[in-house]
Subunit: 233 residues, 2 copies
DNA sequence: AAGTGGTCTAGACCACGCG
DNA sequence: GCGTGGTCTAGACCACTTA
C-alpha cells in the first residue's frame, strides 16, 4: 500500500505513468477508479482526476463513464506542433530575419482558390507573395490570397515592410483554421526564388483561416529543402 | 454586468474567446484577474481558472503569477497531430489495409544510425523494411532499425504478418521520442517500391524512440506522393 | 510586501452509458 | 439501475514575480 507523498497532480501523473511504463498496468487493462486511487495515494479525488485527465489528453489512457479507465493499447501519439510567426521561428534559431515583398496585386484567383475560400468566382482577391530570409538566405516562400471582401483594410497596406502574416494576426480576428503539410516538387519559378535546385523536394504548408463562415486568408508556404518540422512525444 | 448563466468552464471559455475575437479584449491587453471574473460571471474561481488555463494551453492567453493574464499578441498556434499506427490511419479512411515485409536482417548500421541511437558502432541491429498498402496500392514505406541490445525478443519475431510498429507498441515500453517531418526526393529504389515516379517529392517522417536513456527504435517512413498531414487550429 | 495564478481539499450533484 | 468520470463550489494555502 502506497501512502501519502502524492500531494500534487503531477506526482500522481508520474506515478501512474511509471506503472504504465513498467507494465504494472498493461496495455488494455483497466486501472482502479478515481476514488480508489485517491484513497490509495492519500489525496483528493480531484487531484487524481486532474492527473488522469492529463494522461488521457496525451492519449495514454482511455476513459469512459461507467466503463472506467484503461491503458491505451495503441496510443495515438499526440504530437503538438508549434506554428509560430516565421519571423519568430527564424529569430528563435538565433538567425537574422529578413523579408522581401515579391508581388502584391489585386486579381481574380484560380477557381481552386475561390472554391476553397468560398468567395464568388468573379470576386478579385488580394494576392501577396513574399520571401522570408534567414541570415540573408531564402528560408520560406509564401503565396497568399486575402479575402478583401472581409478584410477591406488590407487594400491600404503595402506589405513592403511587414509580412502579411503578422499584419493579419494583429488586425484581423479569426475563429479557426485548417493546416495541411505535404511535400512538393520545386517548380522552376519557386526554385529560382528559393535559390535551390529545380525539382528539389520542399516541405509545404497550406493554411486556410476562417472567421466564422467567412474565409480570411489562404496561404501556401514553401520551406527551404533541408527544413524539418520537429516535435516530440 | 453579466450575471449567472456561466456555470460551466466551457461556457466561460467561450465567453472569454468571444471577447478576444470581437477585440473587446485586444491583443496584448491585460484581462481581469480570476477572482474578479468569477464575480462578474457568477461562478467559482476554479471554474474560471479551468477556462483560462485551457485558453492558455492553446496559446491564446499568456499567464504569469502576479503579472496577471494577457491576450497573446502573436499566438503560437498549437497544432496537434495524431500520429496513429499506420494500419489504423488507413482503416479510418475506409480503405483496405495491407502489409508486406520486404527485408528483415541483422546487420551493422551506418554510423549515422548507431550515432543517433547511441549504440556501439560495432553492434549489429535488426533492420526491418516493409510496405504498408491501402486498397492494394503502396501507402507508406518503412525502414526501421531496432536496438536488439534492449529488445532481444525482437530476434524471435519474423514481422511477416504484423508490422514492427504494432509489435513494438505492444511489447516494448518507451518513455519518450522525437519526430521530424521533412520532404525528400524518392530514390530509384524507393520509387520502385512505392510505384511512383523517381524524383517524386515524398513527405517523410523520422522517428526515434527511447526508453529512458536507451534507444528502442529508429524509423523512417516515406508516404506516397499525395499524402498530407492535416490538422486544425 | 503584496497581488496573482496554481493547486489541494471535501463534499456534492449530474450525465453518460454499461449491463 | 447504478457505477464511473465530469464538473462545480467554497475555502484555503502556497509559489512565484513584480512593483
Amino acid at each position: 500500500m502506497t501512502s501519502a507523498a502524492f500531494q500534487t497532480w503531477q506526482s500522481v501523473r508520474d506515478e501512474v505513468l511509471r506503472r504504465i511504463q513498467t507494465r504494472e498496468w498493461k496495455p488494455g487493462a483497466a486501472i482502479p477508479n478515481e476514488a480508489d486511487l485517491a484513497l490509495e495515494l492519500g489525496c483528493a479525488r480531484s487531484t487524481v482526476n486532474r492527473a488522469l485527465r492529463s494522461l488521457a489528453d496525451s492519449g495514454l489512457l482511455e476513459r469512459r463513464r461507467k466503463a472506467g479507465t484503461r491503458v491505451a493499447t495503441q496510443p495515438v501519439a499526440k504530437a503538438t506542433l508549434d506554428i509560430a510567426v516565421i519571423r519568430h521561428e527564424v529569430e528563435s534559431r538565433g538567425d537574422k530575419y529578413g523579408y522581401q515583398l515579391i508581388e502584391r496585386v489585386l486579381k481574380l484567383p484560380p477557381v481552386a482558390v475561390s472554391g476553397a475560400m468560398q468567395t464568388a468566382a468573379s470576386a478579385e482577391l488580394l494576392f501577396v507573395s513574399a520571401l522570408h530570409l534567414a541570415n540573408d538566405k531564402p528560408y520560406a516562400l509564401e503565396e497568399r490570397w486575402i479575402n478583401t471582401g472581409l478584410v477591406a483594410t488590407a487594400l491600404d497596406e503595402t506589405f513592403g515592410a511587414i509580412s502579411a502574416n503578422e499584419w493579419l494576426l494583429e488586425h484581423v480576428p479569426y475563429t479557426h483554421g485548417d493546416i495541411a503539410f505535404s511535400a512538393s516538387v520545386a517548380s522552376a519559378e519557386v526554385a529560382r526564388r528559393m535559390e535551390c535546385a529545380p525539382q528539389s523536394a520542399l516541405l509545404t504548408m497550406d493554411r486556410l483561416t476562417w472567421n466564422h463562415d467567412a474565409s480570411v486568408t489562404k496561404v501556401r508556404v514553401y520551406f527551404r529543402p533541408d527544413h524539418q518540422l520537429r516535435t516530440n512525444l
